[in-house]
C-alpha cells in the first residue's frame, strides 16, 4: 500500500483534492471572509456535526453512522439526477470517501454536515450527467410525479422516510406547482437559468422569481432562519 502511495502522483492527488475542493467551493462559500451569524442548529444537526468531528479524528464507527444517516437521501438524490443505479452508487461511494478524507475541513458555521454531503453528491452527479450529455433525455423522461410532490405522502412512504424527509416533503408540497417545478429543475436538472426558462417556455425573469419565492417559502417552512 505504501508502494501505491509512493507511486500515486502528487499532481494527481492535488488534482483530486482540488476537484473535490472546487466542487465543494461552489457551495461551501469558501470566499467568505468572515462567517456570518447563523441560525442555531437543531438537534439532528448537532448530532451530525459531532459525528463529523469524530470522523475527522478517524473514527470509523462515527463514519458508519454518518453513512447510515445520510446515504438514503444522498443515494436517492444521485439516482434522481443520473438515473442509473451503478453510477449513483459510484457517486455516493466517491462522496463518502471525500467525507472521510476532508472531514477535518468541514466547518459547521458554514453549513450543516448534511448540506455539505448533499453538495458533494449533487456536484458529482451533475458533472456525470453533463458529461454523458443526457440532460435532454433525462428531462424528457422526467415528470413531476417522479419527485412525489404531486401526491400525498402515503403510509408506506411515511414509514420509509425519515422524519426529516417527511417534514421537507410536507413543506415542498405547500409550494405552488410552478415554484416546485422550477426548484426541481434547478436542483435535480443541472440546467442553467436560460435552459430552465427554455424548457418551461417561460420568460427568464419569471423563472428567477419562481425560484426566489419557492426557496424563500421553503426556508420559512423549514424554519432555517433565526
Amino acid at each position: 500500500m505504501s508502494l501505491l502511495l509512493s507511486s500515486f502522483p502528487e499532481t494527481l492527488a492535488c488534482a483530486v483534492a482540488e476537484a473535490d475542493g472546487a466542487a465543494r467551493k461552489r457551495h461551501s462559500g469558501s470566499h467568505m471572509n468572515q462567517p456570518a451569524p447563523m441560525p442555531p442548529p437543531d438537534e439532528r444537526q448537532i448530532v451530525d456535526t459531532q459525528l463529523m468531528q469524530q470522523v475527522a479524528r478517524g473514527d470509523k464507527q462515527s463514519f458508519a453512522k454518518i453513512y447510515d444517516r445520510f446515504s438514503g437521501p444522498l443515494y436517492a438524490t444521485a439516482l434522481r439526477i443520473v438515473r442509473d443505479a451503478a453510477e449513483a452508487q459510484d457517486i455516493v461511494h466517491d462522496a463518502f470517501l471525500t467525507v472521510w478524507d476532508k472531514a477535518a475541513t468541514f466547518e459547521p458555521k458554514r453549513g450543516s454536515a448534511f448540506a455539505w454531503t448533499v453538495t458533494l453528491v449533487r456536484n458529482r452527479a451533475i458533472d456525470r450527467m453533463r458529461s454523458r450529455q443526457r440532460r435532454a433525455e433525462l428531462l424528457a423522461e422526467s415528470a413531476p410525479m417522479d419527485l412525489g410532490y404531486q401526491n400525498d405522502i402515503t403510509g408506506d412512504d411515511a414509514a420509509a422516510s425519515s422524519d426529516a424527509a417527511q417534514a421537507v416533503r410536507a413543506a415542498v408540497s405547500t409550494l405552488p406547482a410552478e415554484q416546485r417545478r422550477a426548484l426541481e429543475m434547478a436542483f435535480f436538472g443541472g440546467l442553467t437559468q436560460e435552459q430552465i426558462a427554455q424548457t418551461l417556455r417561460e420568460p427568464l425573469g419569471t423563472v428567477k422569481a419562481r425560484i426566489r419565492r419557492g426557496l424563500l417559502k421553503l426556508r420559512d417552512a423549514l424554519a432555517y432562519r433565526p
Binding site: M1, L5, L12, A19, G29, H31, M32, N33, Q34, P35, A36, P37, M38, P39, R57, G58, F63, Y67, S71, G72, P73, L74, Y75, A76, T77, R80, A88, Q89, V92, L97, W100, D101, G111, S112, F114, V118, N123, D127, R130, L147, G148, S162, V168, R169, A171, L183, F187, F188, I196, K208, A209, I211, R212, L215, L216, L218, R219, L222, Y224, R225
Partner: protein, 346 residues
C-alpha cells in the same frame, strides 16, 4: 436590508445557477455583507433539503461495505497497520507469564497478517483502479472546464452578435424612418415643384401676352415711325413741273417728284407726241455737281394722249436737282444728249 434583487441572486447562487460576471458581482457583494451571507446559508440549507424529496431509494447493502472497505484500504495505505489515523502507535503491554497465549496470538497474528497482506494486495489493486478512475475523472473535468470556457466565450460572442444585430436593426429602423421622412419631403417638394411649374407656365403665358402686346406696340411704333418717315419724306420730296419747249406740242406737260433720300422719283407725262418705232423719250436730271445732265432713264408714251407714269432712278447719285429735261432719242437712249429739250422744268 436585502432587496428582492439580492434575494433572487442569493437563491440562484444557492442552487449554483449564477455564472460569469453575475456570479463574480454577487460574490463580491456576499463577501462584504454578513446578512447576505446568513441568507445564503439559509437558502443553501433549504436547497439541500430538496435532496430528501427525491423518490425514496435505499442504497444496496454492499455499497456500505464497499465504502468501508475503501476507507480501510485508504487508511492502510496512509499508515502502517499498527498506527491509528492520529499516527499514535499502539503499544501493548506484555507480561512474562502470558507468553503462551501471546505465542498463540502471535501465530494468529502472522496468519492474520498473511490474510491482511492478501486483502491489502487486492485493496491496492482496487485503489489503483480507483486512482485511474480518478485520473480519468480529472481529465474529464479538464475537458469539461475547457468546454465550459468555450461555452462562455461563445455565449459572450452570441451576446455581442445579438447586440450588434439589435443595433443594426435599430439603425435600419431609424434609416427607414428617415427614408419615410425624406419621401414625405420629396413628395412635398414635388408638389411644390408642380405648383411652381404651373405658376411658371402662367407667368410664361403672361410674358407671352406681354410679348405680343410689346410686338403690337412695336408694330404700332414702327407704323407710326413709317408714317412719320413718310411724312418726313414727303416734306423732303422735290416736285417739279416741266413745260414744253417746242411749238409743235404746246400741250405737253410733265410733273416729276423726286425723293432725295431714296434717290428715286416718279414722272407723270401727258400730251407728248407719239414716238416713232425706233425712238424713246429720255429723262435727264441736272445736278450742279456734274458738268453734264445725269441720265434718268428712257420711257415711251401712250400713242393716244401721250401719257405715261414712270418710276425712275438716276444713273449717278443726285445731291441737288437743278432741273429736269426730256429729250427724244433713238431707241434705248443715249449717254449724252445732243438735244433739243422737249420739256424743261426747274
Amino acid at each position: 436590508m436585502i432587496d428582492e434583487r439580492l434575494e433572487e441572486l442569493a437563491s440562484l447562487y444557492a442552487l449554483d445557477l449564477l455564472e460569469g460576471a453575475e456570479l463574480a458581482q454577487f460574490e463580491t457583494a456576499l463577501a462584504r455583507d454578513p446578512s447576505l451571507q446568513a441568507l445564503v446559508h439559509e437558502l443553501r440549507e433549504s436547497a439541500s433539503a430538496l435532496a430528501r424529496t427525491a423518490p425514496t431509494a435505499e442504497p444496496p447493502k454492499h455499497l456500505k461495505q464497499r465504502v468501508l472497505a475503501s476507507i480501510e484500504a485508504r487508511q492502510a495505505a496512509a499508515t502502517p497497520a499498527t498506527l491509528t489515523k492520529d499516527n499514535k502507535a499502539i503499544r501493548p503491554a506484555f507480561g512474562g507469564w502470558q507468553i503462551l497465549p501471546w505465542m498463540a496470538a502471535a501465530s494468529f497474528a502472522v496468519l492474520a497478517g498473511w490474510f491482511a497482506q492478501r486483502y491489502s494486495a487486492s485493496q491496492a489493486e482496487m485503489t489503483l483502479a480507483r486512482d485511474q478512475q480518478a485520473l480519468t475523472a480529472v481529465e474529464l473535468q479538464s475537458v469539461r472546464n475547457h468546454l465550459e470556457a468555450e461555452r462562455i466565450v461563445n455565449q459572450r460572442q452570441i451576446i455581442t452578435l445579438s447586440e450588434q444585430v439589435a443595433n443594426y436593426t435599430r439603425q435600419i429602423g431609424e434609416a427607414q424612418q428617415k427614408g419615410t421622412a425624406t419621401l414625405r419631403e420629396l413628395a412635398d417638394t414635388q408638389q411644390k415643384l408642380a405648383n411652381t411649374t404651373r405658376e411658371l407656365a402662367a407667368a410664361q403665358e403672361r410674358a407671352n401676352g406681354l410679348d405680343r402686346l410689346l410686338s403690337d406696340a412695336r408694330a404700332q411704333i414702327a407704323g407710326l415711325s413709317r408714317e412719320m418717315q413718310a411724312q418726313s419724306d414727303l416734306a423732303n420730296l422735290k416736285i417739279t413741273t416741266l413745260a414744253s419747249m417746242l411749238n409743235n406740242s404746246p400741250q405737253a406737260l410733265a410733273v416729276a417728284v423726286w425723293n432725295p433720300a431714296k434717290q428715286e422719283g416718279v414722272l407723270q407725262v401727258a400730251g407728248l407726241p407719239a414716238l416713232g418705232p425706233n425712238e424713246d423719250y429720255q429723262l435727264w436730271v441736272v445736278d450742279p455737281q456734274y458738268p453734264d445732265p445725269v441720265d434718268g432713264g428712257v420711257f415711251t408714251v401712250e400713242a393716244t394722249g401721250g401719257t405715261n407714269r414712270v418710276n425712275f432712278k438716276t444713273r449717278q447719285p443726285v445731291r441737288e436737282i437743278g432741273a429736269y429735261a426730256i429729250t427724244k432719242e433713238r431707241k434705248g437712249g443715249v449717254q449724252k444728249s445732243a438735244g433739243p429739250f422737249l420739256l424743261l422744268g426747274k
